[in-house]
Amino acid sequence: MKITFDNTTIDLVPTDKSYRVTLGDKTAEVEILRAKDGQLELLIDGKRLTAYVSSDGAKRWVTVNGRTFVLTKSSGARKSGGGQHHAAGELTAPMPGQIRAVNVREGDAVTKGQTLMILEAMKMEIRIQAPMDGVVKSLAVKQGQTVEREQILVVVAGQTSKV
């Protein structure tokens, strides 16, 4: 069977007492020694590995050898979550918080790096900056408004689309 994470497809073939796992030109024989409470004890080509795996929608948090990675499952019944797939120029809130200040109006010309608005979250001020030279196409929030993570704040149209 095949499982895809982040455009990388893993092929699992059950063998006698283990799995043959293939990723591109890499192949390993993997035996599962134990699977409990989000922990997997694996024997990968005879070498022991403790892996920690958690699931959060399509996301998989995986810790191996002391390092943690987030993989996103892209096959299967589940839809991929909200994610980062926004059009260029759509600026979203990197975290939940409150809009402290809005420095631009719709139609304003802006330059790359210009602070468009300030989001306050966890007692810090975070600048929302223009990703390119362009024009403020739409403002989705106003000062004082509370926003969720990934909520669209402002759309900047690049200069090429400024006709």
């Binding site: 069977m1 499982i3 994470f5 990388t8 893993i10 699992l12 059950p14 283990s18 799995y19 796992v21 990723l23 890499k26 390993a28 993997v30 035996e31 599962i32 699977a35 409990k36 409470d37 989000g38 997997l40 694996l42 990968i44 590995l49 892996a51 920690y52 795996v53 958690s54 699931s55 959060d56 998989r60 948090w61 995986v62 810790t63 191996v64 050898n65 002391g66 390092r67 943690t68 990675f69 993989l71 499952k73 096959s75 299967g76 019944a77 589940r78 990197p94 975290m95 939940p96 918080g97 402290r100 200040a101 306050e120 979250a121 966890m122 007692k123 810090m124 001020e125 975070i126 993570r149």
Partner: protein, 495 residues
Amino acid sequence: MFNKILVANRGEIAIRVMRACKELGIKTVAVYSDADKNALHVQYADEAVHIGAASPKESYLNADALIRAALDSKADAVHPGYGFLSENASFAAAVESAKLTFIGPSADSIRAMGDKAESKIRMKKAGVPTVPGAEGLESFSDFEKAADEIGYPILVKASAGGGGKGMRIVWDSDDLPEEVDAARREALHAFGDDRLLIEKYVADAHHIEFQVFGDKHGHLVHLFERECSVQRRHQKIIEETPSPSLTPELRKQMGEAAIKAARAVNYYNAGTIEFIFDPLLSTFYFLEMNTRLQVEHPITEHATGLDLVHWQIRIAAGEHFPYQQDQLSQRGHAIECRIYAEDPANNFLPSTGKLLQYIEPRGPGIRVDSGFRAGDEVTHFYDPMLAKLIVHGESRELAIQKMQTALRDFVVHGVVTNIDFMQAVLAHPDFADGKVSTRWIENNFNWTPPVEPPFESFIAASLADIVVPGTKSQVPGLNESDPYSPWKTPSGFRN
């Protein structure tokens, strides 16, 4: 001794203080906001009082609610922890007015040191070296003039501030207006006070602070230094003691200056004198005093063998601090890493979410102070520090190795953390050489997370998706893309 202490704080420090209370046979009262109903610090207390909404202003910064909670629960003392109202002189005064004991210094000491401008003037008078700068600035032209006199780069700081909030480095006069405005807003929001001061910015400076401890009978000592130069966004992330920068002679001079500074404000209880240290010239300047327990106090506990929170409580109850300066010594080497829910690859922005897994490292010489457990929610209401990982070893080299091992054993899923980033800092030759200055991360350290996750991570993720947990692996029917959802099994009572 007290019968019952209300801890006017949350998270790891509330638990740290309550542990000390339990060991001293004192009952504890927790306070909690709407967001903290099920928090670990609430569970850990003997009693708990709800004090308001999730926003700090309506709960942990609400002095009236805290004092009412203390009176209602018949507590006889209040421990403020760090942050929140811990350095608020009015709160300390109000606690004492309510016939409760404030476990900390006097309101006068807090007031004298809390205003960065006033404290600098006092320190100069007391003969403690201070950084060149200007206080009491009003109009924007005042700022401009003072900055030009001192010479760029300069530092804009909140008079009432601390912890990097409301602090900005200004490299060029063009940036001064925006940065002054931003600092003012942050200062007003964080401390309710928008007064600012400016200072010469010392490049490649080290941050070295001294712990001081005094009783109410005039006895005052220092408990040696902490080197806190590993900082991001002006906030400490790694602290250690002894400092790799100090000679015994410098340690002695700075310790004496720290005591002089504390004595100038008639200080008692635990406090910290922060110095800017210039390693090229071996000079040091008084930066500010933190009139409370410090986040990084555990490394001093390991180095000196003293329990600072026990002594805070005992001193507040009127006990004498029994050790003379020459009876105190440092032993071994201690390091603390602050484990934050934040994304180092994305400008250290805080990360929120539910802790899907949370496994702390264990072992000899490893201490973890934390207020979280698996299943808890990390919200945007409060500081994103998940835990303090503290290690103690015979030498600096062994302590670093122990920290590296401990970080490998720390598993956090559900929020992004700085654990991998910490590993990269600890493995850097500059850190090994003790050459890290406060702007080193910003200027000298180029960290990027690995582009391609290792094969093992894909193996684990894919197998986890097809294995029935708690059993040996079974091959599921083929062609089913998602045959079962082991992840969705409710975690019930153990059997």
